[in-house]
């Protein structure tokens, strides 16, 4: 029951967070310069045409009316119609989110084992050459901007060697393997960015756990070193790493505007970016909330995992 209460409390807190997010995005969108009518018709459009289009789209109504109109529909599952594309927002978001999740999943599956493995190996070799190589390489890759690594990868593997497609978009009806081929190249810049970060956290946690009393006790008990690492070091070492990975989910789902643009991929990051530029409020608001939901779920999963690995915090201080 306590576990359920813990989860319910987190869900309730998440709903308040999402509502606040919707208000912040709405107010933030009003600060952006320009208006929807002009964004659609172009900067040199006749003001009469802009006014007519703004009226048709309903963006000349009072702000509170617009917000209430959108939010009251949103809670019933109706995300509204895109002001720019004049089609329901739902299908756009669903397709973009599915694409982003696919790319994030591949990047996640590549970088998490690699990062943790790299960090643990570095920790086991603290101060030695291997530790330095992993740490410095990881750090160097983290600071290379995604657009640089993306273009270099495309030119080498897409244009020069022609091993992989230069675009992440596949033809309709493509199978899982074809989709994977298209997503492999765009996943690599994300792996490069995140590897160093995850490896450093895993290394720090492992170094700390290796130095802990319980590890020393386990070794002195005569347990094989592999067992000590699996049973005592890793569960403790990975706690901060799990938090880091969870906080990166928001970036992996919604923060890939550059990678999506360079690889011509219809993800939710570029969808939101373009909605913000065009002041397409229903698309922007629903997109941001969608990422907020994903981020909240990822954080919730991380919290649950954290509590499973660390019973001391499981029930909110009632250990």
């Amino acid at each position: 029951m306590s576990g359920l209460r813990f989860v319910l409390r987190r869900v309730a807190l998440s709903l308040v967070t999402l509502w606040l997010l919707s208000v912040i995005v709405f107010l933030g969108a009003q600060v952006l310069p320009g208006d929807v009518g002009r964004a659609i018709l172009g900067p040199l459009a006749d003001p009469r045409a802009v006014a007519a289009l703004d009226h048709k789209l309903g963006v000349d109504r009072p702000l509170l009316v617009q917000y209430w109109d959108w939010s009251s529909h949103f809670v019933t599952g109706d995300m509204g119609r895109s002001l720019v594309y004049r089609q329901p927002v739902g299908p756009f978001l669903a397709a973009a989110l599915a694409n982003s999740l696919k790319l994030a999943a591949i990047a996640f599956l590549l970088v998490v084992p690699l990062g943790i493995f790299g960090g643990v190996v570095a920790a086991m070799n603290v101060g030695r050459a291997l530790d330095r190589i992993i740490t410095v390489t990881g750090l160097s890759m983290t600071v290379v901007p995604e657009f640089v690594s993306s273009i270099v990868l495309i030119l080498i593997f897409g244009v020069w060697l022609e091993w992989l497609p230069v675009s992440a978009s596949w033809r309709e009806g493509a199978g899982a393997f074809t989709q994977f081929r298209h997503l492999l190249l765009p996943a690599v810049p994300l792996v490069l960015v995140l590897f160093g970060y995850i490896a450093r956290m895993a290394r720090a946690g492992t170094v700390e756990a290796l130095d802990a009393d319980y590890t020393r006790t386990a070794v002195m008990k005569g347990l094989p070193f592999r067992t000590v690492v699996w049973r005592h070091v890793l569960p403790n070492a990975l706690l901060p790493t799990i938090t880091v990975i969870a906080t990166q989910m928001g970036y992996l789902i919604g923060g890939l505007v550059v990678v999506e643009t360079v690889f011509h991929y219809q993800g939710i990051g570029s969808l939101i970016y373009n909605a913000a530029k065009a002041k397409d409020f229903p698309m922007l608001e629903s997109g941001v909330l969608m990422i907020g939901v994903v981020y909240t779920i990822a954080t919730l999963i991380a919290d649950v995992l954290y509590s499973l690995l660390n019973p001391r915090i499981r029930f909110g201080g009632r250990e």
Binding site: L41, V50, A52
Partner: protein, 550 residues
């Protein structure tokens, strides 16, 4: 082709006043072949007349036989909004419209008007009524015939301020609702607000919203993409791409490709990479900034069109130091235009002479001397204006293709004569703001740089940014003589008359210099070597009906 003098004499006797004048101008050497072709097309001179003059063959044979099953793949900019013939105004969207829709006439890459859904057109003596004869036997993609009712409804829809029409700014002072009138099922008369010698361009592909669509069109165009063009819609997915198939009921020669496929790209880089990775056969448009990787790559061909697209550097004629025309002229004289063109465009641009008359326009009077860099004269002008010790000016502009680089270059050129320019480079939406005076950095800034797309005739550039009542008059330039000259230019029906006025306008603008026109850059597209017959226009349209891929 040789001129047939007997037939020419006969033509002179039977020609209208305008046609006779045009023939005379050509035969006396006042206008060249290209100019006559263009002017003749504008006033509706028939192909037979031009053929008699030895300018065009009587009939134009088609270059290739028709391969049946080719698919041509193009990469274009993602349409910025829902594709709609009334509202669309961006490059990707208007390229989509033109795949299925047709205009009364086509403004080709040489700026010569060619008949499309209209077979001929004639002005009245005053030039304020233009009568168009419509092609017979034209069908929409749903099988219904196209008639004068559809043409009237199309233009009334575009000229109506209640319809959020993107063509409204073009039609302002030119054509109002009710001005388009049906004469019979295949004849339409346009009753203009004022005489206009270039009106056919407003019905052409130059006015990209003017595709003829059925009179009963109610909106939601993406569901039907109805038109009369050589291709009809197969599938459209917003933000992703579109495909079209050959329309077998087309009135003209059937399209050579069985199918075309368009993929939408966000930004230059992904388009270039797609071409390099052979995922598309052609990309439009290509900017020199960002397109360097393919400009000199032997695997690709660059299709280069001279255009009137340019950036206007406005200087407030009613504010601060720039109020004095000597200061404005001094800044214009500090610019090394050849260097600008070489640096920003690798030479793929024409020089500007501080007026909207681009070298590509036949009506441009080339006898007016080209302004060149003259630092000594610029310093003298500044000193005479009382700014020998220098002057501070703020230049505000937008982040758009080469404009930020252009701003820095202007800043550096001006520094050489003692003009210290501080830059404010902002997003396009921040720069344009509400696009009305008092609520727009563009229209309110002391000095600024603004992009203007290509047009087949200079009318729009002459009016909105420079006339005293111009809605885009960022320089706040008010000059009754200029206004009168522009009215004369617009009303002039003959090329000689247009050139006479353009000389006066060019001279006046060089003296006043409210706006610096530094260059008119080329419109570029890139394609794989084996692609032939693809025809982009400087309006971002792409005609693929004659395209073949080897």
């Amino acid at each position: 082709m040789k001129a047939d003098w007997k037939r020419i004499d006969l033509l002179r006797r039977n020609a209208s006043e305008l046609e006779a004048d045009a023939i005379e101008q050509y035969l006396t050497g006042n206008v060249g072949r290209r100019e006559l072709l263009r002017y003749g097309a504008t006033i509706g001179m028939s192909g037979a007349v031009l053929a008699t003059l030895g300018l065009v063959p009587e009939t134009t044979p088609r270059a290739q036989a028709a391969p049946a099953n080719q698919t041509i793949r193009a990469g274009i900019e993602v349409p910025a909004s829902a594709v709609d013939p009334v509202t669309t105004g961006d490059a990707g969207g208007l390229c989509m419209l033109q795949q299925v829709g047709e205009f009364l006439c086509i403004d080709g890459p040489d700026l010569v008007l060619r008949p499309a859904l209209a077979t001929s057109w004639k002005p009245n003596a005053k030039g304020d009524v233009w009568t168009f004869s419509l092609r017979q036997g034209v069908k929409f993609h749903d099988g219904r015939p196209m008639t004068a009712d559809d043409v009237v409804a199309t233009f009334d829809r575009l000229a109506n301020p209640k319809n959020a029409s993107n063509a409204l700014s073009a039609f302002k002072g030119v054509l109002a609702v009710g001005g388009t009138r049906k004469v019979d099922d295949h004849t339409v008369a346009f009753h203009l607000d004022a005489p206009n010698g270039n009106f056919p361009y407003y019905t052409s592909s130059d006015n990209y919203n003017a595709i003829i669509i059925p009179a009963d069109f109610k909106g939601d165009y993406e569901k039907s993409f109805i038109g009369t063009g050589p291709f009809k819609l197969e599938k459209y997915t917003a933000k992703v791409g579109a495909s079209f198939t050959r329309f077998d009921g087309y009135w003209g020669p059937k399209a050579l490709p069985a199918r075309t496929e368009f993929t939408f790209y966000q930004g230059m880089q992904s388009k270039v990479l797609a071409l390099q990775g052979r995922q598309v056969d052609i990309i439009v448009p290509v900017a020199v900034q960002g397109g360097q990787a393919i400009l000199h790559d032997p695997r690709f061909q660059i299709i280069r069109l001279r255009s009137a697209a340019h950036e206007q550097v406005h200087m407030r004629t009613d504010m601060g130091a720039l109020r004095d025309k000597r200061v404005r002229r001094a800044i214009a004289l500090s610019l090394d235009r050849k260097g600008l063109v070489a640096g920003l465009f690798q030479g793929l641009s024409d020089l500007g002479n501080d007026s909207p008359f681009a070298p590509v326009f036949p009506s441009t009077n080339t006898s007016v001397p080209q302004r060149t860099q003259d630092i000594k004269q610029a310093k003298e002008l500044l000193a005479a204006a009382g700014h020998a010790k220098g002057v501070n000016i703020k230049l505000t502009t937008e982040k758009y293709i080469e404009i930020p680089d252009y701003a820095v270059l202007i800043q550096n050129f001006a520094k050489a004569i003692g003009v210290n320019i501080t830059l404010k480079v902002e997003s396009q939406s921040a720069y344009y703001g509400k696009a009305v005076f008092g609520q727009s950095d563009w229209l309110d800034s002391e000095m600024g740089i603004t992009d203007y797309g290509h047009r087949g005739v200079p009318n729009v550039y002459l009016a909105a940014p420079l006339k005293s009542d111009g809605t885009w008059n960022a320089a706040h330039f008010k000059n009754p003589t200029y206004d009168r000259l522009v009215a004369s230019y617009v009303a002039a029906l003959d090329l000689a008359g247009q050139r006479a006025v353009s000389k006066e306008i060019e001279t006046l603008l060089l003296d006043e210099t409210p706006v610096i026109f530094g260059y008119f850059y080329n419109y570029l597209s890139a394609a794989v070597k084996g692609l032939k017959g693809a025809q982009p226009t400087a309006m971002a349209q792409l005609f693929l009906q004659n395209a073949t891929l080897s």
